[in-house]
Assembly symmetry: C2
């Protein structure tokens, strides 16, 4: 059942302990960009010995090994995404929900890099309001 999570971890060189598997499986089946707190609260009922520090440790490990992507938009919470394909995100300024967005027809982009920076990854995000929240916001 957690075969997919297991092979995903092995593929990225992460030893699949029970807690790591549980968190990986949770992330793979809940692509809702959860926070560490959200993950902890969702798994705790099933793994009563789970510690929040462990959740943070494992998420950091996953991110370093690039098994998952860390999403930082509002600076309040880091969110995590098991979908590591290139895509953009949207966050509602009111309710904080994060959605996926996929850009089409992106042309090859060139960029001056006068400081010779080594670029690892690229993140694109939009902010605004979801249809539910825009009604209740005066702008």
């Amino acid at each position: 059942m957690n075969t997919e999570a297991k092979s995903r971890l092995l593929k990225f060189g992460v030893k699949p302990s029970l807690h790591r598997l549980a968190i990986m499986e949770y992330l793979m089946s809940n692509l809702i960009h959860p926070t560490a707190d959200h993950i902890y609260n969702s798994l705790f009922p099933f793994i009563p010995t789970l510690s929040k520090t462990t959740v943070y440790n494992i998420l950091k490990l996953f991110e370093e090994k690039k098994v998952i992507a860390a999403i930082v938009i509002d600076g309040k919470n880091t969110r995590y995404d098991a979908d590591i394909s290139q895509h953009a995100h949207f966050q509602c300024r009111k309710c904080g929900v994060v959605h996926d967005l996929r850009l089409n027809d992106m042309a090859p982009v060139t960029m001056d890099n006068p400081d010779n920076l080594i670029l690892d990854d690229c993140h694109i995000y939009f902010r605004g309001y979801c249809p539910d929240c825009v009604k209740s916001v005066s702008r």
Copy 2:
């Protein structure tokens, strides 16, 4: 001397008090993406009555009125940029420095928006290592 800062504030509907002018002027002449703490420490020697809460209050006001842009990349610090023209950012994973990056030849991009989200703004950032830091990092 702070004529530019003053007209900038007035243009965005912000009343130019002395502290607001000082912070605006600092941001306009120091495009280094400073943090609130950095701004406070830089101005405090010249404005000994300045409070850190005031710095946060004013930065939040500026952001709401869109006088400046808030940059969130690593979730540790919010950084602030008086350059509100569309451009991307880079942050070094080691030293945390933030650089500007300008993309060329971006083609018109289309995007499916099935959830009818209202998009306000778009942020693009890259992470990696600056030339100084890449030497000292084992990857």
